[in-house]
């Protein structure tokens, strides 16, 4: 019998606050968790985006001692804090993880933006010899994964995956494989992201973000006819994964079982855009879902990676519709409309959905786009699904999917 990987702990910090309860309240309210981005650096467009899903409660002292935190960039702090939160929920402490058989599998898209910016500003504006070594060591993409390993003594494989929007799913899938195959006893898996004013300005300049219009603030509108971009969001989500038999043996509660996972690539995509190659992606997804008990009918909800982009949401809808072969889609939960894009925005909501959390109406959605032809969750009461599908279609072509099952 195949060893199964289960989730026994969830730690999440983001624009909605710290912990699962704050996130659940925000998802129920169905309102984007936004804050005004600091534009004083003068790099923003005048008429550009102004809001982002920023972490406003930055007091992480419950999870990181100030003396340790001062040696970390913000994404490293987020990752360590979310991991410790997850370990606490799993009933584990650092001593339990201080072994060679604990792996770390995180993902990020942009890494430590602030430290990268500060280091480059020193080089460009003040002279290369002024460069701070600390900025450099903490701006490498794997710094959060490494700091997490140092913090909890995880000496197994330590990996940062950088595959944009598909990264969080790839990281969890990769960790689950390692647990199932016995390469590690436990894994800490998830995603982390930081949104700086400069990154926000860059995303806006590239037309990626939702824009203010008619005197009203911008709003991500997943699947809506008027959608014009996403809301950038920051935060971290870390899951504790372990073998189901080991978790049960120590009396841990399994929050979810990791089911099928798959990945693909749409080679029609541009460098920073989504393509139109939905058919091969749908074939890959459908083939995977056929292995899931009940097939597509066994999927009780889709926790969609849609975020409000014109082409990304269209591709997502086409892939889902083709995978379901014309059958009605299950409820489409779109948490990035609340949390923003990046930072593992769909991982924690997917676990909450499995636990029966209620999701409010999808913010920003009012009118079906005939080309997209799907509508996200309306806020109507839904039974807790037995199984949810997580989707992550990345700009540039990457794609990843994961099924989470309720662990009986």
């Amino acid at each position: 019998m195949r060893a199964e990987a289960v989730v026994t702990g969830l730690g999440t910090i983001g624009p909605c606050g710290q912990g699962r309860e704050a996130l659940a309240r925000a998802l129920l309210a169905g309102k984007p968790a936004v804050a005004e981005v600091d534009r004083r650096a003068g790099v923003h467009r005048e008429a550009g985006a102004r809001l982002a899903g920023l972490v406003r409660d930055r007091d992480l002292s419950r999870w990181i001692a100030p003396a340790a935190g001062r040696r970390m960039c913000f994404p490293s702090k987020l990752a360590v804090a979310a991991a410790r939160m997850a370990l606490a929920e799993a009933g584990l402490d650092a001593a339990d993880t201080g072994a060679s058989r604990v792996g770390v599998y995180l993902s990020t898209t942009f890494g430590a933006g602030l430290f990268t910016e500060l280091l480059l500003k020193q080089v460009f504006l003040e002279g290369a010899e002024t460069a701070q070594p600390f900025y450099f060591s903490e701006c490498v993409a794997n710094a959060p994964a490494a700091q997490l390993a140092i913090a909890v003594g995880a000496r197994g494989p330590n990996m940062m995956l950088t595959q944009r929007e598909s990264g969080p799913i790839l990281a969890v899938a990769r960790a689950a494989q390692a647990v199932r195959e016995g390469r590690v006893d436990r894994a800490l898996a998830g995603a982390v992201e930081e949104v700086t004013p400069l990154l926000h300005a860059l995303l806006d300049r590239f037309g990626a973000l939702a824009l203010p219009s008619g005197g009203r603030a911008e709003m991500p509108r997943p699947f809506d006819r008027r959608r014009d971009g996403f809301l950038a969001g920051e935060g971290a989500t870390v899951l504790v994964l372990e073998r189901e038999d080991a978790a049960r043996a120590r009396g841990a509660r399994a929050l979810a079982r990791i089911g099928w996972s798959g990945a693909g690539f749409d080679s029609t995509a541009g460098v920073s855009d989504w393509g139109d190659g939905h058919a091969p992606l749908a074939a890959a997804l459908r083939a995977g879902l056929d292995e899931v008990p009940g097939g597509v009918a066994g999927i009780g909800a889709v926790v969609s990676g849609a975020s409000g982009t014109r082409r990304g949401d269209l591709l997502e809808a086409r892939v889902l519709r083709a995978s379901w072969s014309g059958d009605p889609l299950p409820p489409l939960l779109v948490p990035k409309a609340v949390t923003g894009e990046y930072g593992g925005g769909i991982l924690a909501p997917a676990l909450l959905a499995l636990e029966g959390a209620s999701f409010g109406p999808t913010p920003g959605f009012a009118e079906i786009d005939p080309e997209v032809d799907v509508a996200p969750h309306s806020g109507a009461a839904q039974p807790a699904p037995e199984r949810v599908l997580l989707t992550g279609l990345a700009s540039g072509g990457g794609a990843a999917w994961l099924v989470l099952e309720r662990a009986s």
């Binding site: 650096a41 003068g42 790099v43 040696r71 770390v104 942009f110 890494g111 990268t116 280091l119 480059l120 020193q122 080089v123 460009f124 002279g127 290369a128 460069a131 701070q132 070594p133 900025y135 450099f136 060591s137 903490e138 701006c139 490498v140 993409a141 794997n142 710094a143 994964a145 490494a146 700091q147 390993a149 140092i150 909890v152 995880a154 000496r155 197994g156 494989p157 330590n158 990996m159 940062m160 995956l161 950088t162 595959q163 944009r164 494989q177 195959e181 400069l198 300005a201 860059l202 300049r205 990945a263 690539f265 080679s267 995509a269 460098v271 091969p280 890959a284 540039g396 072509g397 990457g398």
Partner: protein, 432 residues
Amino acid sequence: MDASPPRGTGMPGADRDPDRSRTVVVTGLGAVSPLGWSLESLWEGLRAGRTAVGPFDRFDHTGHRTHIAAQVDLALEPRRARGKPRRISAADRFAVAAARSAVARAGIDPRDRCERTGMYFGSTTGGMLETEAYLSTLLAAASGRLGPPAASLLASQQNNGPADAVARELGIGGPVQTVSAACASGAMAIGDAIQAIRRGEVDVAIAGGSDALCRLTYAGFNALRAVDERPCRPFRADRAGLSLGEGAAALVLEPLERAMARGARPLALAAGEAATCDAHHMTSPHPEGHGAAAAIRAALSDARLDPEAIDFVNAHGTGTPLNDAAECAALVAVFGDRTADLPVTSTKALVGHLLGSAGALEAVATILCLLHGEVHPMPDDGQPDPGLPLRLILGRPLRLERARHALSTSLGFGGANAALVFTRLGDPDLAG
């Protein structure tokens, strides 16, 4: 010089594996390095022990502490490798050229059953070089000195750029995954590719890494005082740091059964892989090399080999005082007294530190050494450190015609360690 295997096509090494469907072989290699845009130029330079580290002009480095690096000559880029230069970065171009070369050598078309071909690549900075140009213009614009930069200045900027560029160029439809684990990225990506084939997730994996020189890493390593003012001298008594380099390497991996069925000539067995973390310090390796030793032991176990079976080591060998000492400690911990007799070389002495693609290029170098039956040398430019009991290959290649198993190690920032074991195939006399 021909870089392809000089011997026959038997696969004795694989006979140890009762389940051939899980046996992974290398059927294609490609590399873009400071020694040139081809595998042939790489091998020729490695064999000659000729360092490519020297003056460079990729960007203005007048304000930096050091002024050398190993850069790829962009003017020598083969015409067929040129994609759409306005939208792909230097790192992407290296990756595409290396992957095209590897795929051509393997004799495969990734578009055939493209959904069964996966991409596993490492990169630490992706298109950072081009991002820097954009940012410097944007910052100047913010201070009123310039107008805003055109969006087209920014090529594929993130670390996933090289993998995506290859996947797009070759029409890959399977999983595409970029690993950013600092200097262990390339080796870890290859390890992931080996696992994916063993699991049956893909039939073919293109694995490797790509990184380009950029101001960020050049300033950063200089700020850490980790860059030598002279070309790096791994494991030498007067070593004073690393030398930065750039380039890409790609390996085509597939199951042995599949390679045999299509009449391909496997170049080597991808026998073992493993990764660990020191969990010790962000920039300093564990002084006794605990994590590195654990990775080497696990890779040997994965390959089902005893340490005695390893014929030579392609070491991470950066030339920094701490790394080389820790790596030597790890080798001693695994190989014991035999370490002093075990041939050790470092490819970085010749091409510099390729960061996210270092492990991949060194895997290619390791396989070339196995194929040619000789270990490439490092330049003979300094006394070996008497505190490091290693048999360094200096000045001239070491003939090791009967070499079968080789180890390649990669150790990165944040304590990321990876080890790969390759086994030579194709010599029935050595079936053992």
